[in-house]
Amino acid sequence: MPEKYHIKTKPVPPRMPRIGKYGVVDWREDCARCHNCVKKACVYDRYRQEADYIRNLSNVDALFFDCMGCLSCVQDCTKGLLKMAVNPEYEKLGDSYWTPDIIKTTWLQAETAKIPVSGAGYRGPFSGHGFDSMWTDMSEIVRPTRDGIHGREYISTSVDIGRKLSFLDFQAGRVTKNPHPLVSIPMPLILDMPSGTHTLPQINEIIIQTAVNTDIIAIIEWRNKPVDEKKLEHIAFYLAQDSPAVPKELLKKTRLVEIADSPRVRERIKEIKETHPKIVIAIRVDLTPGGIERAVELAQLKEVEVIHVSADLNGDEIGVQKPRFIKDMIRQIHTTLIEKGRRDEITIIAGGGIALPEHVAKAIICGADLVTVNLPVLIAMECHLCSSCKPGMTCPAKLEKIDFEYGVGRMTNLIAAWHDQLIEVMGAMGMREVRRLRGDVGRAMFFENLEKETFGKLFGTRRSN
């Protein structure tokens, strides 16, 4: 039996004080000093921890916000002195897309590498923008393909990047066609370059090492700087239009390279393939208003193997007033390529707005072969997404001082947790292979369709907001 894909993890505690959702405010003045103080009865022992925490405090403004929000102490205090409040710092995290809840769950996964599990039912809105307007399906009694919990070890999450042969031809037991080069990675995830607004020292080294640990690939912009040659297998250089050429000996050790879209795309592919025929070349297409058409157009070219479509950080179309969302754009590209008979010839990598592990599964259902992420791994290192990472500004997470081991550990943990969650949803869907999930909208339910099919029949037309 071949070796299983397994990411080695160990807990990496946070460097900064935790920013929890709840804090308990204590009006000590009126305390009766009773012997049955509720603080001693905290099930989670938070008050004792708080005392230790305050004793060792170096930063006076960092309060202890690790309350679990059960309100037992608040409700039981003899004199009713305790009050619970939502931490204002918590509410300030992130933005409307990268919500505080997303940031908190990412931090937790980066610390523990575990799947977040909780009690009680779902707490959020009925549906929402973007990926929140679709649900994945599950398999019930009548579907024979499901695997269930015991089948999890058989679920494959590996994907191939590159052009696949649509059929094989044999003569005298031998394949007559030469297969195209393919890059296989064990998880449908690529670490994308950090966005321009979030740059940090050693971030590239940390990302590359994470890619090595998790056996995936990191896209790194080629800037003619020295790289560790042992790690080249896990690096895909990104070549902007004006990037200097990658030295031949370095390029030959990589498996994937990404080039910026340009009118000279064909020539550049030719040049690179001449140097390294076995390399797979991806073309990065920004999802600007003409982005989808450009991606489809590129897919018609016989030289093109992989297209990496990239929306903005929130998954929106770039530079438009009313942007379309990445999931809808992927669906459009996917279905257009099917109509044109080119879908299986091209690998589609999609990026932008992938914030949670379910987004990976949902983007693949919509038609991407695999996805890229950049912000989640940054958040893993306790980034608040406050967007003040410019020279002269203070980073609340002190990201400029991160330790290499810490960064790699946190990112690796996050990816391991995502991988486990991807397997969870695939298990529920009854899918054994992430490759077969691509474009399988039968394994998903879309808000618009469900509304139309059920409420549309009863209540007429849905008013647009």
């Binding site: 309100l71 009050k83 599950m138 008013r463």
Partner: protein, 526 residues
Amino acid sequence: MANYSEQEEAIREILPENTVKTLVPHEKVARVVKYAPPRYRNEIARYIVHRNGKCKLCGKCAQLCKYKVHTLKSGYKYFGEPNNHLCIGISCEKTGHYCVANCPQGALELKESSMYKAIGDYRWPADLILATWKMAETGDVPDEAYGYNYQCGNSGGGFDKLRFKFPDKPPVKLSEDQIDTSILLNKRDDGRPKIRIDVPWYGGGMSFGSVSNATQLSKARAATAWNTFTCTGEGGYMERMRPYDEHVITQVATGLFGVREETIQRVPIVEFKYAQGAKPGLGGHLLGDKNTVAVAKMREAVLGISLFSPFPFHSVYSIEDHMKHIDWIKHVNRRALISTKVSTPTDVDMVAVGSYSAGTHIVHIDGGYGGTGAAPDIAKKNIAMPIEYAIGRVHNFLTDEGAREKVTLIASGGIRSAHDIAKAIALGADGVVIGTAELVALGCIRCSRCESGRGCPRGIATTDPELCKKLNIDWGTQRIINLYNAWRKELVRILQRFGMRSVTELRGRSDLLMHLDYTNDVGVKK
């Protein structure tokens, strides 16, 4: 009765210390509403009334307030802490008995509580939690003066956007006792008992392990009082449930924990659990910390290890296999009705018809936003459709297939109030299953920590001997009885406004509903 003490001894041997302490007399539980006050000293409230040092103890506030916020216990010199949860807040300003304005010393202040903003979520906003507590306390919906929205949540879709189109005047005037809220659970003519429940809902499956035996018993006793059912979940159930056996459904789930011939034979309804709405396709989950001595004994498992009920039933890969399972139970218990609990995939309608043809009496569909003792967050939000979509689909498909009058359709997964129940029935269900609402009645605050460590800090969803003590069975029973009473009253009011004599008349009347996001012009002549 000679061997009664022997039996008692045997129970003590099987079950640990804390279970025995919860022993309750085998008495009939009366369907009587009794005031069941909050069990914590400081009930969470929307407003906080603060009495500052200027107070001269004149007592005017206590005289004025008709909600009894200010009290001076006899024999006490000082006023107690104001009963914040009874205060109606700022709307009191318009009345003549506003304590803050009338205090001669200006010693009273009123402000919105920070906790009101901190508790609750989209599905269960603070209003709904506080209102449910009030219902469990008093047995009726909260006074209008409180201004709680107790009808729906704030999730922005599904039930929360559906409203009833009430006629201006009821077509017929009906008094409360002219309205029948009972439903029939066995619609097949197969010689098995025609079980009827007095209210169109019953309690959902919560296993011993996920909740304490005090919780299970409170639910069972309330179900007995209301002549409806409660479900044991899959972790077996204790001997202490025996007096209430006629109101217990037991589950056969994939892990078969605590499932024995004897447990199946004890009860009138047996439920097959294929999937749970909160974690469809993933199976059951009991994290190691909650697998205490008592749970391990009941489930015949090893102490302290996480218990998984694997998905799926590996012996069921088709409707025919399902039928074989049903036949098995029907032979083991000749009087039992069969319920099939499934979640809501795209083809939920097919599954429902399939289960019907396999011989089930009750098709129980559990939507994606249902409750759970522990589930991966990724599953709760993303897998399977919300129940609001599924009910109509299944109802229509069963009708088209000609099977609708032969099977009882029960919906669950996000039913939080009497209005949700009525909406689910109007969409096409016969009745519903509730879970979280009962726990809220017992004082749950929905902190979502049921799974962690020793379990629920409020003693509801835990088997920790110490935490279990926080919940008293008699109190818990009364709270649930009160909640049921409030819901039934509210349901009756809805039926009164439509002039319906029975809740069964409401079934499938989606024409009485409107959706706030739609044009609502279907069937309207233009």
